[in-house]
């Protein structure tokens, strides 16, 4: 069998992530520390886990309605209203998905026609480009700048728009940079999009994790509600990555099309997870608060120490990543990560993995224990001292 011939060419064309090799190496190390995986280190709060378990005890093991349980959608409606002043009708504007990832996939597939362009600001999470390609579209990568705190500016957006532009992906708060878009930043973006047919896929999975200021959704900006597909979920806010619980909110006609795709591809999101999610929405606000404060402590610690030891780090105001600049070491981000891992047994991710604009930076996730962060900082300090000594010798 010639599988290369048989298998879909477009899918074969998508490159697998080159990052895995680092983790295979890390696995074999005894006292390796991983700041690589973008996932809360918290276990899902017990009352939420218990709600999932209790639903199983009661025998709730069947499919739910395609869009998700009515009670859950009502909870999501009230949550979005209470936390972000967003108004979506649980009856026909909210679809419960298998993680935020499914929601992004659905959003791109209901919008993109062959040849349509999707503007993907980078560095950003890796899924938008490949999912656009699967949907037959063309990703147009827009490189964000550190001097703008990795925000998207109106000028950059205007320059990227062509007559084929169908979608703008807006991934804020940002993985990997920690950058956020405030109300004024979004107003400027809205000004460019007003009067166009360009739709925004706003991936707000880190909306609950902002520090010092509250998250604003672009759907809140005048004239943007009708142009926005809002993606969110429980993974980051409630430490529920493994439950695979996300949701998407949009104008009625958009959700109607997405529901069809979801119905045929997925049926319904996992029932146990939906019961847990109801509890998370109903009684989980204090958990969010608690975890945010913890992350914030670690964020301060890491940013301060990275700057202290000479890796300049712009202050991330969202998500749980720092994205220090490593150019001063003279290494590429991949070389830096490889050597740091081999010499000091700490895994961080090269910025280049997150698309154009990521080179020269590395991503470290601070959703790790304080002990691990302390140890990682101390190893990083050693790594830099040794590196500079070696480089000094080479110069002589």
């Amino acid at each position: 069998m010639n599988y290369e011939h048989i298998l879909n060419q477009k899918i074969q064309g998508v490159k697998p992530s080159g990052i895995r090799k680092f983790f295979d190496l890390l696995e074999e190390m005894k006292d390796g520390i991983s700041l690589g995986i973008g996932e809360p280190d918290f276990v899902t709060p017990w009352h939420i886990r218990d709600a999932g378990i209790y639903s199983l005890e009661k025998g709730h093991t069947k499919y739910t309605s395609n869009a998700g349980m009515l009670r859950l959608r009502r909870e999501i409606e009230s949550y979005l209203e209470r936390r972000f002043d967003l108004h979506y009708d649980h009856k026909n504007q909210i679809l419960v998905t298998v993680g935020g990832s499914e929601a992004i996939d659905l959003a791109l597939r209901v919008l993109v026609e062959p040849g349509d362009e999707v503007i993907v600001p980078t560095p950003s999470f890796v899924c938008y480009g490949p999912l656009t390609e699967m949907a037959g579209g063309v990703p147009v990568y827009l490189e964000l700048k550190e001097e703008n705190q990795f925000r998207l500016t109106a000028e950059e957006l205007r320059a990227a728009i062509t007559p084929r532009t169908k979608v703008l992906v807006l991934p804020f708060p940002s993985n990997p940079t920690g950058g956020i878009m405030g109300r004024e930043d979004l107003e400027a973006i809205a000004e460019v999009l007003r009067g166009t047919d360009i739709m925004v896929v706003s991936d707000e999975i880190y909306a609950e994790l902002t520090y010092g200021q509250h998250h604003v959704s672009i759907a809140n900006i005048p004239d943007m509600y009708e142009r926005t597909i809002l993606v969110n979920g429980f993974s980051k806010s409630h430490a529920m990555t493994g439950w695979r619980m996300g949701y998407v909110c949009a104008p009625v006609p958009v959700i109607a099309q997405m529901t069809k795709l979801h119905q045929f591809g997925i049926m319904s999101a996992p029932t146990t997870s939906q019961y847990a999610a109801i509890e998370a929405m109903h009684n989980g606000d204090k958990d969010i608060e608690h975890m945010r404060e913890e992350y914030d402590s670690r964020r301060r610690y890491l940013v301060e120490n990275l700057n202290r030891i000479g890796l300049t780090c712009f202050e991330p105001r969202g998500a749980f990543y720092v994205f220090p600049c490593i150019r001063s070491t003279g290494l590429t981000s991949e070389e830096f990560c490889e050597r740091f891992l081999m010499e000091q047994r700490v895994a961080v991710i090269p910025g280049s993995a997150f698309g154009p604009g990521g080179e020269g930076f590395v991503r470290a996730c601070y959703a790790s224990s304080m002990q691990d962060l302390e140890e990682a900082v101390s190893r990083l300090e050693t790594f830099l001292v040794v590196l500079r000594r070696k480089q000094g010798r080479e110069e002589e």
Binding site: S17, I19, R20, F23, D24, S34, G36, I37, G38, E39, F125, V126, N175, T241, E293, E294, D296, S297, R298, R300, Y301, E304, N305, A353, M370, E374
Partner: protein, 159 residues
């Protein structure tokens, strides 16, 4: 933001520099604040939570319910004071409910603890009854779990 006290309660072994970064304070402020809190008696001390079962076989801890004849608060304070003077006594609390004081004591053997109760505690003036419960196994203390669950597989996922 977590306050300095909350951070210390979680882990008092952190350096002033680490505490400062997390609490959003200057290192010198942290030192001064800690000194002030110690002076005011807000911070009573710093102790390690030890899993003694890992290092020695002997040693017992008991929780003793103590009933005393009804009295005013000063009367309870007096009795509590006479109890907590003993070194063996780890903790003493005034309780609501069916008994009045909880006394937690540690000793080398069951017999040692039992003797303490019968010879020191029970004869105290005002004490009308005791019930001794030996702690057989500790699961969690001060938010710390004694036998952490199995390490979770953290397989690589690019997220």
């Amino acid at each position: 933001m977590n306050s300095l006290l909350e951070l210390l309660e979680q882990d008092c072994a952190q350096s002033p520099a680490q505490l400062a970064a997390q609490a959003g304070m200057a290192e010198e402020e942290v030192r001064a604040e800690v000194r002030a809190l110690e002076r005011k008696g807000v911070i009573l001390g710093y102790q390690a939570v030890v899993d003694w079962s890992k290092v020695r076989d002997e040693g017992v801890t008991a929780l003793i319910e103590v009933k005393v004849t009804p009295q005013d608060l000063a009367g309870y304070d007096r009795i509590a004071q006479r109890i907590y003077q003993y070194d063996e006594v780890e903790s003493v609390y005034l309780m609501s409910g069916t008994f009045d004081l909880t006394v937690i004591i540690s000793g080398r053997t069951l017999k040692e603890v039992a003797m303490f109760v019968s010879e020191r505690l029970a004869p105290l003036e005002g004490v009308t009854g005791t019930a001794t419960h030996f702690i057989l196994k500790k699961y969690k203390e001060n938010h710390l779990v004694f036998q952490p669950g199995e390490p979770e597989e953290r397989e690589f996922v690019f997220s």
